[in-house]
């Protein structure tokens, strides 16, 4: 699983942070076409956005979010040189993170 992050200047000030996480986001309602068994739910639950190590926002997701979630937020009080990081955990306890410095 990989996580990518992009930062651009926001339309209404601040910085837009865009995160693309590779994740299947299984609903738990789908059947495996070969075996006929239900595929267990597997989805990202919480994504934490931090600036210089301080959390600024938490996105809570469930199985209603598309596979490979693309999540964007705006951080208005960040400045160049700040480090923005994101980390996520899913319902199976897997996790990943990414980090970018604002230039």
């Amino acid at each position: 699983m990989t996580t990518k992050m992009k930062i651009k200047t926001g339309n209404s000030g601040g910085y837009d942070v865009l995160v693309l996480a590779k994740h299947p986001m299984e609903t738990g309602n789908r059947k495996d076409q070969k075996t006929g068994e239900m595929i267990p739910a597997h989805f990202i639950q919480t994504m934490v956005f931090s600036v210089n190590g301080t959390p600024v926002a938490q996105a809570h997701l469930n199985q209603g979010i598309s596979a490979n979630p693309l999540v964007g937020i705006n951080i208005s009080n960040a400045k160049p040189g700040d480090t923005v990081s994101v980390s996520w955990t899913d319902n199976k306890g897997e996790s990943d993170s990414a980090e970018t410095t604002i230039s």
Partner: protein, 154 residues
Amino acid sequence: MKRRTFIKGSMASAALAVAAGAGLLKPTRVLAADWPEAALSADQVDAAMQAAFGSGDVTDSGDVQIKAPLQAENGAVVPIQVTTSVKADKIAIISEKNPIPMVTVLDAGDGAGGLYSIRIKMGETSPVHCVVSSGGKLLRATQEIKVTVGGCGG
């Protein structure tokens, strides 16, 4: 005869123990800390609103804008973007006719919360509500999104 049934029974329970050990019988939902389970697994809009905001008293407001397609060709990927001019501390997106209507909640701290964009799954044509909580008030914007191919099931 007794010995035979005993061996059979013990073999079955051993197989069960192996299955449990391999994680086959584990509950599928292991909670992360502070994930709002009640809101994000409720199957009714009202129950989800109560769980997420503690109130179902919302007003439609022009301070919340939704940018989303009027018609989604593929219900598995419907991009939704919420922008607001008020200081938001929570943003929730609700697709009314989904099996679990509330699909995401953003807890925004200082400096965040002006924008939230995400791609959601939609099973069928339905109104999508974006609810923003700001200083104890709940503001809402709604847009009907037509879905031609559903995003649930496979």
